[in-house]
């Protein structure tokens, strides 16, 4: 039974990734700068797949620490997503969004860890 569940999960995950890579990609957004657009679009879809897996852990997670870890990982994934968007549009301020999001995510994770530990923020 366990082997069956492993096989099903592996097939679903690899099938989704192969579907993203193999299907032809049509660009709806970013029409003004079409260099690398098919590559970057597939990268964005795979990052969205990884973010959905992280959101499953946020919803399901048994303890509060699981949710904090998942939110931290989600912030780091968004830094990569904004860098890739910077390639697609050719505008460098998308990477600024990534840096600012990483900073906010770091401070938020530290504050939540202190709260989990049971101390006040002034210690």
């Amino acid at each position: 039974m366990k082997t069956l569940r492993w096989l099903a999960g592996t097939v679903v995950l690899l099938g989704l990734i192969a579907l993203i890579i193999l299907l032809p990609f049509r660009s709806i957004f970013f029409a003004e700068n079409p260099t690398h657009i098919s590559f970057v679009g597939r990268v964005i879809y795979i990052l969205i797949l990884a973010s959905l897996m992280v959101l499953y852990r946020v919803l399901k997670g048994p303890t509060a620490a699981d949710r904090i870890v998942a939110i931290d990982i989600f912030g780091i994934l968004i830094v990569g997503l904004s860098a890739v968007l910077g390639i697609a549009t050719g505008r460098s301020w998308y990477i600024d969004i990534g840096i600012a999001w990483g900073l906010q995510s770091f401070i938020g994770t530290l504050a939540l860890a202190k709260y989990l530990e049971g101390r006040s923020l002034g210690d």
Partner: protein
């Protein structure tokens, strides 16, 4: 040529990201999940940012910003992971029953 190398870096980073998120879903314990997810996703995102540095043409504005983001991410992500794991241990979240060693609890018993 530089674009191809950048695409290879971004592909490697994506593989690390997906595997780290898979570890976050599949592993049994907070500490195991933290270990897999933080290391894999930090390395993967740093690789994606280095590929961005290569694909946007080296030392341009976007390239410098990508390098600054790499340095920032490498400095801050282990600090956040360490704080979360220390907080989780102090909050009394139990380890998985298959864990073999808990050095932090032994250290705390030695202090008291």
């Amino acid at each position: 040529m530089t674009d191809t190398i950048g695409m290879v870096f971004i592909g490697v980073g994506l593989a690390f990201d997906v595997l780290g998120c898979l570890g976050l879903v599949r592993l049994p314990d907070v500490y195991n999940r933290l270990q897999a997810a933080t290391k894999c996703v930090t390395l993967g995102t740093c690789s994606i940012l280095f590929g961005t540095f290569l694909m946007t043409g080296g030392f341009t504005t976007a390239g410098f910003k990508a390098l600054i983001a790499i340095v920032f991410l490498v400095l801050t992500s282990p600090v956040a992971a360490h704080a979360v794991s220390r907080g989780a241990h102090r909050a009394g979240i139990p380890l998985w029953e298959g864990s073999v060693v808990d050095r932090y609890a032994e250290d705390k018993e030695g202090e008291e």
